[in-house]
């Protein structure tokens, strides 16, 4: 391409290099990270962003056919008449689910690793706003479909709002959000859905630019969990250039996540008795006979609060006169304050409450315990709400389910913490833990659950059936198991911290890396298998392309289309990971170890699922 040679200047010979040069891709001012930071646990935010990207693409396309005057009809038109409309709508839904899930993972990872600490307080705060905005956006999207699941969600939401704010204020709020008649409802829901999505985009940009101001928190292996250094030294020798290395890695992550979303939808579509809360396709219309069989549920990501709203022992059922103001009957006000508002305040204040100079979970024991409890309670109440929606919960039942994990966490963390703060005693406690404390704690739990069971029976009285009690005991035990696993994980972290502290300085590891890098030059790696694999991926991509284009009916064959698109994405992911690996050979030679073949195992998993979908 001689013309571009001239255009680009002396050393760039292709159109591609011309673009790279003119777009300034090699000088992109993003934070640079060491090679070994390119692993998924450091890139959870990219997963959230990748889901969001697909939500925007598919959402804007859905907007072309959606009509808030005929919500259900226009949705069914998209599903049943528009070519590939089914593919778009179902992946929009599952991308939203994925976004929420990955967001929680991202959130908790930053929580437990203390990433909110100085100087990243603002990133944390905007992150909390993002969490709330995402849930709001997803709620309004969920409503838009106009099927029985969506209309139930409206009714549940109205009930919850009234329960929190009282009838007068509650009606005012729900009228503002959802209008008073169905036409208003859907026009508003669409308006708020897109409005919140826009807000989400703005907040994301803010979140990302604030993040880029300081870059990722250095890995705890480099800092030994201390808060210093606060940033990655940009003069380190093992940094990779953002373009093309980091860029390729990021594209790989996006492709893999999209592929996972697509294959999940495809698999879900082949399941006949899928629960309506996670059905990728709309449910029956609200006025149809089938609708009668659907118990009213909120979207699954609000199930946790739906159950907490059933904690009737916290209800304010009569107006309370406080002299200056009167609190109206608000059966869910206290629950909202205790489980939404107060934790929210804690999360917002967290960077300012936690000023310690360590990021180790055991050096911030109560914050760690609080985080673990949030996870456990979210899981417990979500499942509980799914299995017994709307059934009132008495105090004894709540204690039976929620107290055991709390006790385990408090005891477990307390024991581990002691070990850490007092070095000598630490050895004893640690070895104690290693040997038999897990079993001991488990025994303690069982004892506790037993007594709680007896206690709960006396409090709950005859109200609850044997089945509900069994369910609650199972929930309590399940939560306790999570708590135990968590404590065990903390014990492992504690051991690792010890090892880290015994190791030499981090600089040494860096030198090692450099040495490795030099030796790798001579280990001209045996990578013929990569070429074969690359060829295989290209063939898979072209084969899937052929299938997508020649599919006779993209409407009935939606699951097949989805599986081929997933294979296509997974293959491109595999291909890109090969190129990524070849380009990063100088940081770590390709030896065909687990790290090298992991991406291809992931791609293979997608392939297997796709095969399953096409057989089913």
């Amino acid at each position: 391409m001689p013309r571009f040679k001239k255009l680009a200047g002396s050393n760039s010979g292709s159109l591609f290099e011309w673009i790279v040069d003119r777009a300034g891709l090699k000088e992109v001012p993003f934070y640079r990270v060491p090679f070994h930071y390119l692993s998924i646990d450091m890139w959870l935010g990219a997963l959230v962003a990748a889901s969001m990207a697909w939500l925007f693409i598919s959402g804007l396309l859905l907007l072309l056919y959606y009509n808030p005057q005929k919500p259900y009809e226009s949705t069914m038109n998209i599903v049943n008449n528009v070519a590939f409309g089914k593919v778009l709508l179902s992946t929009h839904l599952y991308a939203a689910f994925t976004m929420i899930l990955t967001m929680y993972i991202h959130f908790f990872k930053n929580y437990f690793e203390g990433a909110y600490k100085k100087p990243r307080e603002l990133v944390w705060l905007v992150g909390i706003l993002l969490l709330l905005t995402t849930l709001q956006t997803a709620f309004f999207g969920y409503v838009l479909v106009g099927d029985i699941v969506g209309t139930d969600a409206i009714n549940v939401a109205k009930g919850v709002i009234n329960g929190i704010f009282g009838l007068n204020l509650g009606t005012l709020i729900s009228n503002m959000l959802l209008g008073t008649n169905p036409e208003e409802t859907y026009t508003r829901a669409l308006g708020f859905h897109v409005l919140f999505a826009g807000l989400l985009a703005l907040l994301f940009m803010l979140h990302f630019s604030l993040f880029e101001a300081h870059g990722p928190t250095p890995h705890h292996k480099d800092t030994k969990w201390r808060t210093k250094p606060e940033k990655i030294d940009q003069k380190r020798k093992d940094l990779v250039p953002w373009f093309p290395i980091n860029f390729l890695y990021m594209i790989g992550i996006i492709l893999m996540l999209w592929s996972a979303i697509f294959i999940a939808v495809a698999v879900a579509m082949t399941q006949e008795n899928i629960h309506p809360l996670i059905n990728p396709l709309p449910g029956p219309p609200p006025d149809s006979p089938e609708a009668a069989e659907h118990p009213p549920y909120p979207p699954w990501f609000f199930l946790f609060f739906y159950k907490i709203a059933d904690f009737v022992f916290l209800s304010i059922n009569k107006p309370i006169d406080l002299g200056i103001i009167t609190i109206p009957a608000t059966p869910i006000l206290l629950q909202a304050i205790l489980t939404l508002f107060l934790p929210g305040i804690v999360l917002v204040l967290l960077p300012f409450l936690d000023k310690s100079d360590s990021r180790h979970p055991l050096k911030r024991p109560w914050i760690t315990a609080f985080g673990a409890l949030m996870i456990i309670y979210l899981v417990q109440t979500t499942i509980w709400g799914l299995l017994t929606p709307g059934q009132p919960v008495r105090i004894g039942q709540a204690i039976l389910v929620m107290l055991p994990p709390l006790i385990i966490l408090v005891i477990g963390i307390h024991m581990l913490k002691k070990g850490i703060s007092r070095a000598e005693a630490g050895g004893q406690f640690a070895s104690l833990l290693k040997r038999g404390s897990a079993a001991a704690t488990a025994g303690l739990v069982m004892l506790f659950i037993n007594s709680a069971f007896v206690f709960a029976q006396s409090v709950a009285g005859e109200g609850a059936s044997a089945a509900t009690r069994a369910l609650e005991a199972a929930l309590g035990i399940g939560g306790s198991v999570i708590a135990l696993l968590f404590v065990a994980y903390l014990a492992k972290l504690k051991k690792e911290l010890k090892e880290l502290e015994q190791e030499g300085k981090t600089e040494q590891t860096q030198e090692n890396l450099q040495q490795e890098a030099q030796t790798s030059e001579s280990v001209e790696s045996e990578t013929g298998w990569l070429n074969v694999l690359a060829l295989f991926y290209v063939i898979l991509i072209l084969y899937s392309l052929y299938n997508v284009v020649t599919i006779a009916d993209p409407i009935t064959g939606a699951a097949n289309v989805l599986s081929y698109l997933a294979v296509m994405l997974a293959s491109l992911y595999g291909l890109i990971m090969i190129i990524f690996r070849v380009m990063t050979e100088k940081y770590k030679p390709i030896i065909g170890d687990f790290g090298d073949i992991k991406p291809h195992l992931l791609a293979a998993a997608i392939l297997l699922l796709a095969a399953y979908v096409n057989i089913a």
Binding site: I541, L545, L575
Partner: protein
């Protein structure tokens, strides 16, 4: 050796990556392209009785001469003009059936072509022209016709497109007024297209290059009722087919008298 191998791998991976990216982009581009093409739900052409606002059938012999009446057909959003054509003195005029080319050349002289079912075509119609049959007028005097009220040029609608009866063309913006054989004209104010209502709405003047679609009417002699049964001629402006892109009217359509 080693060096050469490396270059080969580089080149190979470059080609692989390029093919992979192009393939995947195409794999997503194709569904998006298909998605963006709206589905065509062609419905059956309805057969609709013309009724007044109270639901009583319109009587053909009671239609005022040279007055515009409006009704939607075949879809609820495709308006048409119904006229009982007459001369300057208000006497109904018989409208002959014609064969009309779908595409016209209004710049040539004569700018349109006539020719009854049985007659020979005039020489200005190319042998290859696609023709459709304009059925002529219906009713007791064979003077009632109906045309699409959406201009074939850029889609201006009644009242921008309206009927000017014989003898009234003096109020016209063009000088001399473009009028048809019998003195009347269907004129579109937007860009000046003119159509001859007495001859199947053929083009009298550009910019339109196509006649107005004709709504085929049926007159039931014993009841004096009128039915709209079909659309012939060019496809109604802005549609991919005459029954695409809207809900079809029912078996009764309401006819309103124009206020002009």
């Amino acid at each position: 050796m080693v060096k050469k191998l490396r270059i080969d791998r580089r080149g190979f991976l470059k080609i692989a990556a390029f093919t992979g990216v192009v393939g995947t982009v195409a794999g997503f581009g194709y569904p998006v392209y298909k998605y963006l093409s709206p589905p065509q739900q062609e419905t059956q052409m309805p057969r609709s009785l013309l009724v007044d606002e109270n639901g009583n059938p319109i009587k053909a012999s009671e239609l005022e001469v040279n007055k515009m009446y409006l009704f939607n057909y075949p879809l609820v959003n495709t308006p048409n003009i119904l006229i009982n054509l007459g001369d300057e003195n208000g006497n109904p005029v018989k409208v002959e059936p014609l064969r009309i080319p779908l595409n016209m050349e209004p710049l040539n002289e004569p700018s349109y072509i006539v020719g009854g079912q049985t007659e020979n075509l005039a020489e200005h119609v190319p042998a290859t022209a696609q023709l459709y049959e304009f059925p002529g007028g219906v009713g007791p005097s064979q003077s009632i016709v109906a045309y699409s009220a959406i201009c074939q040029h850029l889609g201006c609608v009644y009242p921008q497109l309206k009927y000017v009866p014989p003898g009234q063309s003096t109020e016209f913006p063009t000088n001399p007024p473009i009028i048809g054989e019998r003195g009347g004209v269907l004129f579109c104010r937007c860009h000046g297209s003119a159509f001859d209502p007495f001859r199947g709405a053929i083009v009298l003047s550009e910019p339109s290059l196509r006649p107005l679609p004709t709504i085929v009417l049926e007159w039931e002699q014993d009841t004096d009722n009128l039915y709209a049964v079909n659309v012939v001629g060019p496809v109604i402006f802005g549609r991919t087919c005459n029954t695409c892109g809207g809900d079809p009217v029912g078996d009764k359509v309401v006819v309103k008298k124009s206020e002009l």
